[in-house]
């Protein structure tokens, strides 16, 4: 009886959910210049990165995008963000989309960390009244001391990553797309970054995270999509998709 009502509740919730992203028949081809002995002056060849993807993502879902390097994860995220042109198919999305790829929202080397944060904040839609809290949250998170007021060109890769990651995770998108972002900084920073990332994900409406961190995917995501050679291998619960992915990578096949 209890189980039946739970199932009923579940189906009701699903049918009430609004679609945040609808991907239909998505194909992406890259046009790459190639030179060979037969074509000494070169030619453009097409490389198919995504093939016939159909995905519906609902508001509030946290989806893990899994797959080997070159599977098409980053291409898919860039396409959803409107930064890459599909060769066929369509994506319809609802809400503001932020792509967290690397940790550089567009820093200018000639400016200090603080000046960069101020200029970029306005360009990313932070209002003047929100600005001081916004800066403080990044300064506290990055924790790079007086270097925050030094020129950005003199920052180490780790320092750049800290300020960049702090900046992007302080924004408030409706749809958040994340592409392998925890690669920067020391062990302590990664710990801090994971906590901040979780806060960010819970604050954002819908999240798609492309990751090789299966622990993060298992902990945070409700759904998992595994891509291989530009095609969907499995689209299921996070747990099922992770198991399939592990199986796929260990056995070397689909």
């Amino acid at each position: 009886m209890v189980l039946e009502s739970e199932i009923e509740q579940e189906s009701l919730t699903t049918s009430n959910k609004k679609e945040a992203i609808i991907i239909s028949e998505l194909n992406v081809d890259y046009h790459m210049f190639s030179r060979s002995r037969k074509k000494p002056f070169g030619e453009f060849v097409n490389f198919s990165a995504l093939k016939n993807l159909n995905i519906e993502i609902f508001e509030g879902e946290i989806v893990a995008l899994l797959g080997r390097n070159g599977a098409g994860k980053s291409t898919l995220l860039k396409c959803i963000a409107g930064l890459l042109r599909p060769s066929r198919g369509e994506i319809v999305s609802h809400g503001r989309i932020i792509l967290l790829s690397g940790a550089d929202p567009g820093f200018i080397p000639q400016l200090t960390g603080r000046q960069n944060v101020i200029e970029l904040a306005l360009a990313y839609g932070i209002t003047k009244s929100e600005l001081s809290d916004f800066i403080k949250s990044i300064e506290d998170f990055a924790d790079i001391g007086e270097a925050f007021d030094r020129k950005f060109s003199g920052y180490s890769t780790g320092m750049r990553g800290k300020v960049g990651f702090g900046f992007i995770t302080a924004l408030n998108p409706d749809i958040l797309l994340m592409d392998e972002t925890l690669g920067v900084g020391d062990r302590e920073f990664r710990k801090k970054a994971t906590i901040r990332l979780k806060e960010f994900m819970s604050r954002s409406g819908t999240v798609i995270i492309s990751t090789h961190s299966l622990g993060l995917a298992r902990e945070m995501c409700s759904r998992g999509i595994v891509l291989d050679k530009g095609e969907i291998v499995i689209d299921s619960t996070a747990e099922d998709s992770i198991s399939h992915y592990i199986d796929m990578t260990q056995n070397g096949g689909k």
Binding site: M32, L83, I91, G102, G106, I108, L120, L122, Y124
Partner: protein, 271 residues
């Protein structure tokens, strides 16, 4: 906000709110500042170089003409060199305009109207900086009339926009076949010597005169010289040619700016 992405476009559906407009305005300012910062780089004089550049180049050519004992007026050279350099720089910028379609903001797509708005503002300021210094020299040093200065500044704006427009039309070709950039560099070099940038048109005759009349730049520079009270052939030229050139160039500007959205979209998957 609903956004549709397909092979033809990336479009937001619905009207922009006042917050969106404000955001776009902030983004235009950001892109504009970034462009000028990039131009000035770590140079101590920064943007002053934009003002100094046409003056210094003109002075160098003046020196050459003095050695050659040519009787070219200083004002004529200043006007010719400045307008030609503006044409050169704007054409190249137009060709590279769609290389960076992010506008420097890497985490979110920037609307095309932001990129276009920033480009237009940048062009106006750049045109003014590149011609302003020379205009001051002409006014204070050579007593060129205010109307002559006005026409010179206006011609500089026109040449800047027209050249950028032509450059934008060449952008997809240059991106697909980078060799086009080399060809344009050589073409500009030929056009520099085969145009009345260094000398007034009246110094030429025969085939040289005829070839110069086929060059749109001739009409702009000779008009500017005429209003500055200098030796000019503009009244002896067939102004119907000028009208046709101007019409074609204006069409290219319109085409260039209206194609930005399409170009930036198509180029995202080219590598």
């Amino acid at each position: 906000m609903k956004r549709v992405v397909n092979s033809e476009f990336c479009k937001e559906i619905g009207d922009l709110s006042s917050d969106d407009m404000k955001l776009d305005n902030n983004r235009m300012k950001f892109i504009l500042k970034k462009k000028f910062r990039h131009m000035s780089g770590r140079r101590r004089l920064g943007l002053v170089w934009l003002v100094l550049d046409p003056i210094v180049v003109s002075v160098v050519y003046l020196f050459i003409f003095t050695v050659l004992r040519a009787s070219t007026r200083v004002e004529s050279i200043f006007i010719g060199i400045t307008l030609f350099r503006l044409m050169q720089v704007s054409l190249k910028l137009g060709m590279n305009s769609v290389q960076d379609f992010t506008g420097g903001l890497k985490a979110e797509r920037v609307r095309t109207r932001v990129l276009t708005g920033a480009m237009v503002r940048y062009r106006i300021i750049d045109n003014f900086l590149q011609s302003g210094g020379v205009a001051l020299i002409l006014f204070f040093g050579y007593n060129v009339s205010p109307s002559g200065i006005g026409i010179f500044l206006l011609t500089a704006q026109l040449i800047g926009f027209l050249s950028e427009g032509v450059g934008m039309n060449l952008a997809p070709l240059a991106k697909k076949i980078p060799d086009v950039t080399n060809l344009v560099t050589y073409l500009l070099m030929i056009l520099f010597y085969a145009s009345p940038a260094l000398y007034p048109l009246s110094f030429t005759n025969g085939i040289h005169y005829y070839l110069n009349t086929l060059h749109p730049f001739t009409y702009f520079v000779e008009t500017s010289r005429y209003f500055a009270g200098l030796d000019s052939e503009i009244l002896n030229l067939d102004l119907r040619f000028f009208g046709v050139f101007l019409f074609i160039l204006l069409l290219l500007i319109w085409r260039g700016y209206s194609l930005i959205d399409n170009l930036r979209w198509r180029m995202t998957t080219w590598s």
